[in-house]
C-alpha cells in the first residue's frame, strides 16, 4: 500500500507541476500582448539572448556542419558529392541547427534567467516590484519570453548559414570537391518546408527556454542552494522539453 501511495503522490506532484507551468505560461503570454510594454527591457534581453549567444551558437554550428560532411564522406566517398551537400543542408536546417542552438541557449541564457530571477526572489526584489505597483510577470517574464521567441529564429538562421559553411569548407578544402558544384548541390537541396520547420522549432525552443528559466527562477526557495537548484532545473527541464517538442514538430511537418 505504501508503495502505491508513493507512486500516487509522485503522479499527483507531476500533474500539479505541469498545471503550474501551464498557468505560468498563460499569464506570461497574456502579459506579452497586453500593455504596458517595456521596450528597453525587451531590447536588453534581445541583445543578451541573441547577440551574446552568437559566438557559442556559431562555433557549435560550424563544427557540426564540418562533422556532418566528414561522416557523410566516410559513408558515400567521392561519388557522393551531391549527397553530402544534401545531408549537411537537411541535417543542419531541419534538426541540428535548431536543436543545438536551442540547447546552447538553454545552457547559457536559461540558466542565467533562472539565477537572476531566483536571486531576485530570495532577496525579496520580486516582492519589492509588487509593492512598487509593477507586475513581476510584465516586468520580468514577458520581456524574456518576447525576446527569446524573436531571437532564437534569427540565431538559427545564422547557425544554418555557418553550419552549411562548415560542411562546405571540409568538402572543398579537405575532400577537394568543386566549390561551384557543391554550392549548387547545397542550393538544390534546400527545401522550404525543412527550412521553415527549423525556424518554427527555433521560436518554440526560444519560448521553452525562457519559460523554464523564468518559471524556475520565479519559484525558487531558500537561499543560494535554492537558486542553484532552480538553475539546474531550468536547464534540465528546458533541454528535455526541447527534445520532446522537436519530435512533435518534426512529426507535424514531416509525418505525412
Amino acid at each position: 500500500m505504501r508503495f502505491l501511495a508513493t507512486i500516487g503522490r509522485g503522479t499527483i506532484s507531476i500533474f500539479v507541476t505541469i498545471g503550474q507551468i501551464v498557468v505560468f505560461a498563460a499569464i506570461g503570454l497574456y502579459h506579452c500582448v497586453r500593455p504596458p510594454f517595456y521596450p528597453r527591457l525587451i531590447l536588453q534581453q534581445m541583445i543578451e539572448i541573441g547577440y551574446y549567444s552568437l559566438p557559442v551558437v556559431g562555433l557549435t554550428a560550424i563544427f557540426t556542419g564540418a562533422v556532418l560532411a566528414l561522416q557523410s564522406f566516410s559513408g558515400f566517398g567521392f561519388a557522393g558529392e551531391a549527397t553530402i551537400a544534401n545531408v549537411v543542408v537537411w541535417g543542419i536546417t531541419r534538426e541540428l541547427g535548431p536543436v543545438l542552438a536551442g540547447l546552447m541557449v538553454a545552457g547559457r541564457v536559461g540558466a542565467a534567467m533562472a539565477a537572476e530571477i531566483g536571486t531576485m526572489r530570495v532577496t525579496e526584489q520580486i516582492d519589492a516590484l509588487t509593492t512598487l505597483s509593477t507586475n513581476p510577470y510584465k516586468y520580468l517574464v514577458a520581456p524574456r519570453l518576447i525576446a527569446a521567441i524573436a531571437m532564437l529564429p534569427l540565431l538559427v538562421l545564422v547557425a544554418d548559414v555557418i553550419g552549411v559553411l562548415g560542411g562546405f569548407l571540409v568538402s572543398v578544402y579537405d575532400f577537394g570537391f568543386n566549390p561551384t558544384t557543391y554550392l549548387k548541390s547545397t542550393w538544390d537541396s534546400l527545401d522550404s518546408t525543412g527550412f521553415v520547420s527549423g525556424l518554427v522549432k527555433a521560436a518554440v525552443f526560444g519560448f521553452l527556454v525562457a519559460l523554464m528559466g523564468t518559471y524556475h527562477g520565479y519559484h525558487s526557495k531558500g537561499g543560494a542552494q535554492g537558486v542553484g537548484q532552480a538553475t539546474t532545473n531550468a536547464v534540465v527541464s528546458a533541454s528535455i522539453l526541447l527534445l520532446l517538442f522537436n519530435f512533435i514538430i518534426t512529426a507535424v511537418f514531416f509525418a505525412s
Partner: protein, 255 residues
Amino acid sequence: MNAPGDAPKISVRDLHKAFGSNAVLRGVDLDLPAGHSLAVIGGSGTGKSVLIKSIIGLLEPDSGSIQIDGEETLGMSPGERERVTRKFGMLFQGAALFDSLPVWENVAFGLIQSQGMRRREARQAALEAMNMVGLDSDIADRSPAELSGGMQKRVGFARAIATDPDILFLDEPTAGLDPIMSNVINEIIIHGVEALGATTISITSDMVSARKISNRIAMIDDGHIIWDGPTMDIDESGNPVVERFIRSNVQIFQD
C-alpha cells in the same frame, strides 16, 4: 485619534493564515487610524512578517478581512489591487534593492514605472528623496552592491517614500545594523514619516527601535495580538509575555 465614525486607515479582522498544518495567524484583529505609527513586535516565527505581507497583498490570507481606507482588499481583482498598492511604500528587511539598476533608478523606480514620470524628472525627484535620508548625490550612479548595509537601508527608505505614499511598511528597519547605524536609521524614519504624514506599520524585534519610531505598539504571539496600546504604556502592560519579551530584549542589548 480618528473622529468617531471615521473609518480607520487600516482595519484587520479575524485574519487567519496557515502554511500546511502550521497556523501562523489565528485570528488577528487590528485597527490603525490615519497618521499613527504602529510597531508590531514579537519573537521570530510569531507571524509579524506574515501579517504585514498579508496587508500589502504579497500573501493571500485564508480568511478574515483587510480594509484599507474602508475598502475591502481581499478578493480584489489585480487591477484594483494595483490601485490600492499605489498607496503603499515598503522598506524591506534586506532593503531588496534591484541589483541591475543604479541607486537613483532604484529610488525613482516607482515614479518611472507606476507614475509614468519622465526619467530626467524622476532622477531629480530621486536625488531629493536621497537628500531627505542623508544620502549624497555622489552615490546616485553607483550600484547597490557597492553600498554598506546602512546605506542600502537608507536607499530602500528613500525608494519607499519617493512616491509620497499614504501608508509606509517597515520590515525590521534596524536588523543587522550596529547600534549607531540603527539610531541613524530610526532618526531618518522619524523625520521621513513626519514629513510625509504617513500612517506607518513597522515590524521589529528591536524594542529600542520600536519605542523610538512608534506611538503605538502591538505584540503578536502565537498568531494573535496579545497586547495593543500606546508606546508609553508598554512597560506597564501587565502582560507576562510582553514583559518577558522586553526583558529578553534588554538582556540581548546589554550582552
